[in-house]
Amino acid sequence: MSTSRRPRLNIGAVRSSFAPWADPSLEPLVRFEGVTKRFGNETAVNDVSLSIYESEFFALLGPSGCGKTTLMRLLAGFETPDAGRITLAGEDLAGRSPHQRPVNMMFQSYALFPHLSVEQNIAFGLKQQGTPKGQIADRVTEMLALVRLEGLARRKPHQLSGGQRQRVALARAIAPNPKMLLLDEPLAALDKKLREETQFELIALQQRLGMTFLIVTHDQEEAMVTADRIAVMREGHIVQIGRPAEVYETPNSRYVADFIGDVNLFEGAVTAADGKRVTLATPDCPVGFEALEDDRLAVGSTAWLGVRPEKIQLHLDPPKEGPNRMAGKVADYGYLGDWTTYVVELESGRTVRAARANASRLVARPIACDDLCWLTFAPDAAVVLTR
């Protein structure tokens, strides 16, 4: 597949103005209210409350076993909550079987019916709805065009490539025009390059249809690229909900900071906090840390600074005065092509990761292992975490 197939939608511009969750007059499409689900002694979903709005692309992100798939299956009707309720367009879904719910799911294994052709697979949901034959044929043609599988209508699933199967599964779930599309790890089975392309296709598709998408993924990059909002889950709880940039730049806990992207976490004791800035004393940085923070943290309390590797500058000459200066030596580095990640061992003994964009072609590496170096970061590059 060539890159010219990528949609030419100005997604960023459309996205930044889309924020239905900020409008209190809007009724969410889906509402989870205190939903709990237990399997035996294990609580898979623990008192989750969550609202998803019409036309939103919402991602449930978390490691495997965090309850994200269970949450989706509760919405689809394959599991029944032990407590709480789920409403869709104002209607309580309790007691409604999967076939009575106007949501469709795209399964991780795609779950294409092996005995049916591509077009029969796509027509399956429409047939169950009792759609007249002519209309089914039209809709199937439309769906095949949508996912660019026009020539493959009569193929059986086992005659398709992984990417094609993924698109058939997508078309089959969209065909009955559900109020909401649920995608369970939709890209997990694809190789990296195809996955990246498909991410953009999914966004373009969602924009074009105006359909509400709920995606479950363990891949933070997938969630960041596709979703309007991300809910980060951990052990059955939702830890943080926000736009991708919010979750990345202002994580609310060490867990979220660490789960989404790479982060260096420094522990320190608060020495001053004036409602704008906070200073921390720490063995890692003898001159002390300084970061922006609105909250007046109690002096003497423990806080953590989260600093992303790309926000740390690496110097070979000692920098001038200022906070957030650490001396160390390069312990290791990894060349990634576009970036180089350096692992620097501080005088305190801990290691810090710093990333540098390879802005020019590297002929002779200026930095090598065991080189002495200094690390700095700006006060606004760090996020202060208290839990």
Binding site: P98, V103, N104, M105, G125, Q128
Partner: protein
Amino acid sequence: MKRGPSAFNIASVVAGLAFLHLPIVLLVVYSFNASRLVTVWGGFSTKWYGALLRDDQLLAAIWVTLRVGLISASLATVLGTLAAVALVRSGRFKGRLLFSGMIYAPLVMPEVILGLSLLLLFVAFGLPRGFWTVTVSHATVTLCYVTVVVQARLISFDKALEEAARDLGCTPLKAFFAVTLPNIAPAVAAAWMLAFTLSLDDLVIASFTSGPGATTLPMRIYSQVRLGVSPEINAVSTLLVGLVATGVIAAYLFQNRRRGRDA
């Protein structure tokens, strides 16, 4: 190192196969014997197959056997498939182990005991023994074989397919017929053929549970042999061997074709 089978390997395979199949080969060969005497070769002839067609009692027995086989295999397939679905799909219900153990018990139970217990049951209920008691008994015995075959297929069948069908608007029952059944059909067909073949060649259970007017072919052959082996019996036995072999091979091919497509 020498590749391929050694002389010893070849010898042991030949000996093993001969041990297994020499009696059957002999039976088939003697069914074409022109001589009335079973042990004396009197030249090639198909006259015993002709005689077969004029033996009304034998033809009646064949007809009974086929009917018993068809009906009992169908009954066993439906019930056995349902049992397999229950075992594989309903997860961990209370007494699941007991249930599966009870399903498989007839596989290892001596046939004589099965036959005897069925006979006792029919006597206790005052049921006249005949065609239907044999049929039901065969269904009982072959049911567990059906369950084993169908269960093996269901375990490898992706449960998400059923969920997808339900998600797209099917009730659980409809999802079973629209998606599950078409996909496990080869295994169900193979199970039916297995049940049919087992019913065809059963003597023990039939002897216990049959009554007047419902003599199956194996029963007929057995009673005739007690009066002396006739070439006509050889002929009908050859036909039976052919039919059973065809059934087993067809069942095998059915399952294999499926496996080839899944891979």
